[in-house]
């Protein structure tokens, strides 16, 4: 039923219009007197030291990669959960096997230290 999506489109439109209006109107009303000091990035009152977009911990990449694996797995489980009653025992056992395989990967990831933060 594609008809059900029509109100959603309307809502998306209203939200985007109101977001643009909020930024645009306040931009039009306010007075701006930028100075060099005001434009400095905030660093607790000190002059900023060094660049911001430097290298950062590789841990964040690891978390993102792990997220993809485990979230995909959650996505696989949703159709299984919805048709749980039709699938019966076979579906249950299949999901158990799937989760056990995943568990092996999970233990590997843990033992390799991907979940540790110092």
């Amino acid at each position: 039923m594609l008809r059900e999506y029509a109100p959603l489109l309307l809502l998306v439109g209203i939200v985007i219009v109101s977001a643009v209006a909020m930024i645009g109107l306040s931009h039009a009303i306010q007075t701006r007197r930028p100075t060099q000091v005001k434009g400095m990035p905030y660093e607790s009152g000190m002059p900023a030291l060094g660049g911001t977009r430097d290298r950062f911990s590789v841990k964040f990449y690891l978390v993102a990669m792990l997220f993809i694996v485990f979230d995909l797995e959650a996505v696989f489980m949703i159709p299984w959960a919805v048709s749980f009653r039709q699938l019966g025992l076979l579906g249950l056992i299949e999901m158990l096997v799937f989760v056990l395989i995943l568990l092996v990967a999970y233990i590997y990831v843990w033992k390799r230290g991907a979940l540790e933060w110092e």
Partner: protein, 404 residues
């Protein structure tokens, strides 16, 4: 366009406008409630000058934010800096679209307007903005988009505090999204449906899911707290170390939009807790609300839904002003080492128990709920034992101290 389609679109337009306005009003009231309740918890008054009991404080704040000077840091990525607040604001305000906030209302009309033609609607109107067939999956999908806004805000600001806040926030939201998604799957198993109207209907006729899915509810609450960056998981903001996290450099209306988005997400999460586990608009201990739809029924069920949602918002704020903040490694350890395996093994335990119950021919009802509730108890005990021993989350065994 047929007259029926026009009637449907007219009702949809009314629901969208009323729902959007209502949510913004609710956000304003919740910001007021947060500050008043904070005062209450800390034995002080909170804002009480603007209007009766300080009720107009959010309006005053809004006007102030609207006319304040906006600062854009030097070397900031201007375009990303501009769209980041909109990217947080937009998804947060879309989420409520699929949540049913009252019992269906019978609406019949048939009238003709000069230019646009005839409008016809006959039958019941579901009291939600869009009764999508994908239901809760829409919430899971759209709430992930909010992460982009936060990451881009941190990146675009060219400030170290913002950058660290944005990074931390993205890693945190991504980690707890897994646990959130897995805790919701237990609801899907019990309901056999992903639409929220179907889930509410199922609970209303049979039993509230908080009893058979007690641990699922606990996991949902914890991951919802982390998803909305609220204490005890507000590491992205962490005033004591990161100033204000990813919106350190934001001021005026752009800051207000982050603020609106956060509180809209909070209200939606509270409404989801009520909808998924506490029967949505169901009025407990009555079978009257299964009767024919009527205006009175819609009004009363809306009251029930609002009461439950306000209770969960209250609980959110209560938690915020009661618990200290986690350390970042503890936060990630709780998400990956405790909540993820707990949610997965809980799902397996629960699906096994449900399969056994249905093999025995027990219908969904009080007995069914009671047995599943008992199945939950050892799982809850095991989870609390793991968290309490402190090995996984805190890295070492907690030292027990006796109070003298």
């Amino acid at each position: 366009m047929t007259p029926e389609l026009k009637g449907f679109l007219l009702l949809a337009a009314i629901k969208v406008v009323v729902g959007f306005g209502g949510l913004l009003l609710a956000v304003a009231l919740v910001t007021w409630l947060e500050r008043r309740q904070a005062g209450f918890h800390q034995d002080r008054l909170g804002p009480n000058r603007v209007g009766p009991k300080g009720l107009f404080q959010p309006i005053a704040d809004g006007i102030k934010n609207f006319i304040k000077e906006e600062l854009v840091p030097a070397d900031a990525d201007k375009f990303l800096f501009l769209i980041a607040p909109a990217l947080v604001f937009t998804p947060a305000l879309l989420l409520f679209a699929v949540i049913p906030f009252a019992a269906p209302l019978p609406v019949s009309f048939d009238f003709e307007l000069p230019v646009v033609g005839r409008f016809v609607h006959d039958g019941v109107m579901p009291m939600m903005v869009a009764d999508l067939p994908v239901g809760l999956l829409f919430v899971l999908a759209i709430s992930s988009i909010g992460v982009y806004g936060i990451v881009l805000a941190g990146w675009a600001s060219n400030s170290k505090y913002s950058f660290l806040g944005g990074l931390r926030s993205s890693a945190q939201m991504v980690s707890y999204e897994v646990a959130l998604g897995l805790s919701v799957i237990s609801v899907f198993i019990l309901a056999g449906d992903v639409t929220l109207s179907g889930i509410v209907e199922n609970q209303q006729q049979k039993l509230w899911y908080v009893f058979p899915l007690a641990l699922g509810f606990a996991l949902f609450v914890v991951s919802a707290l982390a998803e909305t960056n609220r204490l005890p998981f507000d590491l992205p903001e962490a005033e004591s170390e990161l100033v204000f996290g990813y919106h350190t450099e934001y001021s005026a209306m752009k800051f207000a939009m982050f603020f609106l988005g956060e509180y809209a997400a909070l209200i939606t999460m509270a409404a989801l807790m009520a909808t998924l586990f506490f029967g949505g608009w169901d009025i407990p201990f009555t079978t009257w609300d299964e009767s024919e739809p009527s205006l009175l029924k819609t009004a009363l069920t809306f009251g029930a839904f609002a009461t439950k949602t306000v209770f969960f918002v209250f609980m959110y704020i209560w938690i915020r002003w009661s618990l200290p903040r986690f350390r970042y490694d503890q936060l990630m350890a709780l998400g990956w080492k405790v909540l993820l395996p707990a949610a997965l093994s809980y799902l397996m335990l629960l699906s096994g128990a449900i399969w056994a119950l249905e093999q025995l021919g027990i219908e969904q009802g009080p007995l069914y709920g009671f047995i599943l509730c008992i199945v939950n108890l050892p799982a809850i005990y095991a989870l609390f034992w793991v968290i309490d021993s402190g090995r996984l989350v805190f890295g070492q065994r907690l030292q027990r101290r006796t109070m003298n």
